[in-house]
Symmetry: C2
Subunit: 224 residues, 2 copies
């Protein structure tokens, strides 16, 4: 069922077709919490979503939903899963592709609403499930690279990076092991952070060395 390499066009079978929608879980980290963008919806707060327009790609529909419903641009999406329960929408037969995006809070539009991912029970529809998928995806991606979605700024201290990881994984990491492991993907800028009391921390930048898959088993293991 597919691509274009010249050959006679046969008509498509004429079954009724589903509506296809996209829903987007936009995650961020703020106030030591992983949060997800929500919008108002007649049935309560919900993830932004929209129907796919003719000829549009799913990622473009996700982009449009975010632009129209939350005033939000320049976001990268990942597909997660197609929600395909025929009864999931009482307006008819609607499939929805669940997408995931991760954006630093500073780029959230002013006035955007968000809820902690621990509190997604309040979301309408099956959107709590989408958020769970998004958080799993976030953790998986952050275990194979240093901050791949750019939640932290260009230059940061290792403490700031560790706090970010602690929020994402919901557990503490030992400072010495964390430093020694993640510094494989970092380079020192030579500058020092001029904040707070105590010895100033060095600032680091991410290098573009991705960690090997499985190279960070300590992110998965027991303690904290």
């Amino acid at each position: 069922m597919s691509k274009n390499p010249g050959s006679p066009s046969k008509p498509l079978t004429d079954y009724p077709r589903p509506s296809v929608a996209v829903d987007v879980a936009v995650l961020t980290v703020i106030d030591e919490t992983v949060k997800v963008l929500v919008v108002d919806h007649p049935r309560g707060r919900a993830l932004p979503g929209t129907f796919l327009h003719p000829g549009e790609r799913l990622a473009d529909a996700a982009r449009r939903a975010l632009h129209d419903k939350a005033g939000f641009d320049s976001v990268e999406f990942h597909q997660m899963a197609m929600l395909d329960d025929p009864e999931r929408d009482d307006r008819g037969w609607v499939l929805s592709m669940a997408h995931n995006a991760v954006v630093p809070f500073e780029r959230f539009p002013t006035g955007a609403q968000s809820v902690a991912v621990a509190d997604t029970g309040i979301l309408a529809f099956d959107h709590a499930e989408i958020v769970t998928l998004a958080v799993d995806d976030l953790r998986r991606r952050y275990s194979t690279a240093v901050d791949p979605s750019g939640l932290i700024g260009d230059e940061f201290t290792i403490l700031e990076l560790r706090r970010l990881y602690e929020v994402i994984y919901g557990r503490r990491f030992p400072k010495d092991t964390f430093r020694r492991h993640l510094s494989h993907g970092l380079e020192a800028t030579g500058e020092l952070s001029r904040e707070g009391v105590g010895r100033p921390a060095e600032l680091y930048r991410k290098t573009h060395t991705p960690l090997l898959p499985g190279a960070a088993p300590f992110l998965w293991n027991r303690s904290g």
Copy 2:
């Protein structure tokens, strides 16, 4: 865009809707090679696929495609990705959900055709891409559990299991390390294999202890 919890049904927007299809990469291992089931198609050999019928779930459509085009039942599917290039099918606007299944060769219907995953250049459409996704998924799943898709029989020697992993990952594993690691997920039956020359090998069964994610980093690493 979603579920059912009582509230007035509003009409769906009346955009044109895409056709939705499924394509299935059924992988197996035979002759020391990972192969994928293919079917004849007017444009050359292709993965089995079909259009989604009204009210049907995607996994059911995948099951139906496999039944109708390859005489094949009782297969478990995973969603991989939605192929959504509007130009990917010259018959019209067709989205296709790429699915993945893994089945021991003994369960392939007689006469089923398959090609080595290294040779998917010969497949029609964008199906080589789907096979690549399927192989990646296979490897990821086999690194976190012992033969989760049951490619090997109930009882097997560690050599047989190692050969299976060597085919899947396309590299050799050291016999001692392989045994010591994977035996965490195995139990001895007490019986011995009565095949071949040399000391008979013990037979093992899988236990249902899943390995931790990241618990098999050696599957990802360098050597052979």
